[in-house]
C-alpha cells in the first residue's frame, strides 16, 4: 500500500504569519491536533501542533519537574498563553517539517510517525507543495483492513 491509498486530500493549511490564537481557533473548529504551515506558493514550510503551543505556554522549569501536581493553579499557564496569543506561529512551529510524498510506501509514513512521535504528516508533491495529509489513525485503519504491504 502507498501513502496515496490512505491519505486525505485536504489542503487546509495556515500561514507563517497567522497568530497562535487564530491557529488554535482553526484547530478547535476542525478537531485537528496539528496543521501544516505553508508559504504563498503552498510549499510546506512547517507544522504546528497543539503540543507546540502547549509547550510554549507552560513555564520552562516544568521540564525539570517530576510532577506538576503540587502546583496550586494554572495562573502562570493562562498568563503565558495570553502573552503569546498574538505571536506568529512561525516562532513555535516545527521546521523543517517532516513530509512525505504520495507514492511512497505506507510503512514509510508509519516509521516516520513512530520515530518522530507525530500524529500527522503533510503529503507533498515534487515541488514540496501541500497535496494532503496522512494521520496515524488512517494508517492503523488501513493496516487493520488490508495489511501494510
Amino acid at each position: 500500500m502507498k501513502v496515496s491509498d490512505v491519505m486525505v486530500y485536504d489542503i487546509s493549511a495556515v500561514f507563517e504569519d497567522d497568530s497562535i490564537e487564530r491557529v488554535v481557533d482553526i484547530m478547535s473548529k476542525q478537531y485537528l491536533s496539528g496543521v501544516p504551515v505553508v508559504d504563498e506558493e503552498m510549499r510546506v514550510v512547517g507544522f504546528i501542533t497543539e503540543n507546540d503551543i502547549m509547550k510554549a505556554s507552560i513555564p520552562s522549569y516544568f521540564a525539570l519537574l517530576q510532577s506538576a501536581s503540587f502546583l496550586p493553579d494554572t495562573n502562570q499557564f493562562v498568563r503565558n498563553i495570553s502573552q503569546i496569543k498574538d505571536d506568529k506561529i512561525s516562532k513555535y512551529m516545527s521546521k523543517p517539517p517532516i513530509v512525505i510524498m504520495e507514492d511512497e510506501p505506507l510503512i514509510h509514513a508509519a516509521d516516520l510517525m513512530i520515530r518522530h512521535n507525530i500524529k500527522t504528516i503533510p503529503v507533498v508533491d515534487k515541488e514540496n507543495r501541500l497535496i494532503g495529509v496522512i494521520t496515524k489513525i488512517d494508517i492503523l485503519k488501513a493496516a487493520l483492513k488490508e495489511g501494510l504491504e
Binding site: 486530500y9 485536504d10 489542503i11 487546509s12 505553508v38 507543495r129
Partner: protein
Amino acid sequence: MKVITVTFNPALDRQIVLNNFQVDRFHRVPSYDNMELSPGGKGINVSLALAKFGVPSVAMGFLGGYMGRILLDELRKKSKAVSTNFVFIRGETRENIEIIDPANKTITEINSPGPEIEEEDINHLMRRFTMTLSRVETVVISGSIPINAPDDLYPTFVKEALKRGKTVFVETTNKNLTALYKSGVMATVVKPDLRAGNYLLGKDLKTLEDFVEAGKKLLSVGAKLVVLSYHVDSDVIITEDGVWMISPTVDIDYSHLLGTGDTYTAAMVYKYINGERDLVEIGKFGYIAALAKTKKLRKELPTLQEVEEYNDKYEIKKVG
C-alpha cells in the same frame, strides 16, 4: 489540478424519494433506500461531477459545526479526485431538503439560508483562494452566499481570479449576478440560476427577446458565453456571435432534474480544460451532459460514456 470550485454556502442535501407527495399530508418514507444524505452546494456538486469525468479539482468555501464536518467526511468518501480546502466558521452549515416525486414528476426543494460569516472568514478564504489560484487554470464559483455576506463577495472573488488570468465560470442567482453586473466585472461563462423565477438584472424574463436582452447585458460587461434555462427543458446560448436555442428531441422526466445545472457547468468546464475554445460547442456539451443527467433520478451524476449516449438527442437552432 486544473480547477477550483468555490461554494460560499454549502449544504448537506437530504434527498427523499416519495411517490404522490402532497403538502398538508402525513407521509412515511418506505425505506432508507428512498433517502440519501449527500454533500451539496453548487460548487461542490460541480467538483463531484468533474470527478465523475475524471477531472481532479479543489473544493473551497465555508463550512461550520457538526453539519460541516459531516459534509466534509461525506465529500471525502465520494471521491479522492476532490481535494478540500474549506475555511471553518463559527456557524452551522445548512441542510437542504429535496423531495422527489417520481409518480407526479415533481421536485420540491427547501433550501435553508445558512450560517452567518465574519469578515475574518472572508479574508481567510480569499488568502487561501489566492494561494490556490497559482495551481489552476479554471475557477468555478457557484451558488448562493451566506445571509450576511457583503454584496461584493462574488465581484471580489471573480475579479481576483480574472486578474490572475483564470477563466471563470459562474452559476448563481439574480442577486449575485446583479452585484457582478453593477461592479462592471463579469465571469467568462455565466449560467444564471433561475430556479426561483425568471427574473434577471431587474427584469422579468417572459419572451425569448427578454432572455436575449438579459444575456447581452451580461456580455456587455465581459461575459463571453451566457447560458439561460428556457422553459425548463430548453436553453438559450448567447455569445458575441449570435443566439442559439437548444432543445431535447427526447422526453424529459421533470422529477430527474436535480443536479442538471451543476452537471451542465461541470461539462462546460470539462470541455474547456480539454482545449475546446468554440463557445457554442462548450455550451452544447454542457446541455448534452445535463440531458444525460436526467436519465438518473437523484443527484447521481453521469459518466462521460453516458453523456456520449445523448449526443444525438438534441437539436440546436440559431435564433439571432
